[in-house]
Symmetry: C2
Subunit: 132 residues, 2 copies
């Protein structure tokens, strides 16, 4: 596994579960509306910088470098809170997003490509018994 040197608190680092590239997914969510903005990737140092600078910072897999969201676009993510999930392999970053989050210019990265979906209806297909 690739693990770059990092100043991340060892007590946090010890709880992380990373992929073979030393990365884990980070969900960025607008703190007040709940809108899911994007999914990025972090390594230990990106998480450390996110926790200590107030700016969401990712690892760019395409460029192979740290990426402080908004440094080139101006569309910063100001960090409000960060949480690790129950098994340590994903992070939720609640932010105040300046401008569009997506590099395509849309507010978030999920608006442009809705997939045709059967809507689930518990009233029709679920077991209606008391144990549900």
């Amino acid at each position: 596994m690739t693990v770059r040197p990092s100043a991340l608190d060892p007590a946090i680092a010890s709880r992380l579960r990373r992929n073979d590239a030393g990365l884990f997914p980070a969900i960025a969510q607008q703190h007040d509306t709940g809108e899911v903005l994007m999914l990025g990737w972090m390594d230990d140092e990106a998480l450390h910088r996110t926790l200590t600078t107030g700016r969401a910072t990712y690892w760019s897999r395409s460029r192979g470098e740290y990426w402080v969201k908004g440094d080139t676009s101006g569309h910063q993510q100001w960090v409000r809170s960060v949480a690790l999930d129950c098994d340590g392999d994903a992070v939720l970053v609640r932010v105040d997003q300046i401008g569009p989050a997506c590099h395509t210019g849309t507010r978030n990265c999920f608006v442009a490509d809705p997939l045709p979906t059967r809507v689930g209806d518990p009233g029709v297909t679920a077991d209606a018994g008391p144990a549900r």
Copy 2:
């Protein structure tokens, strides 16, 4: 790359970008409150089943099998909408979550482990110029 056989629409499959295990992350979000519930993993067939059955279905990396959320716990995720992100490597599944989403019994997987964070403040540290 591992790609299991799937009935997923080829027009969707062609837009997916998967990891070496043939998987991509799927964010589950409560459709009405915006709460981020959990992050799971899907392959093509898990996405196909999610789109066609109305029940969020993941690939369990630990068990190596499909996992229809709630089949054992009763805590189903009824699908409301599904969207692919701008570069095809993540999915947002908006659901109606029955009961707790997390296997630990909490409503979502991110409540138990908040990390100490410096809160970002654009008023203090950002460039206040007109281009921001």
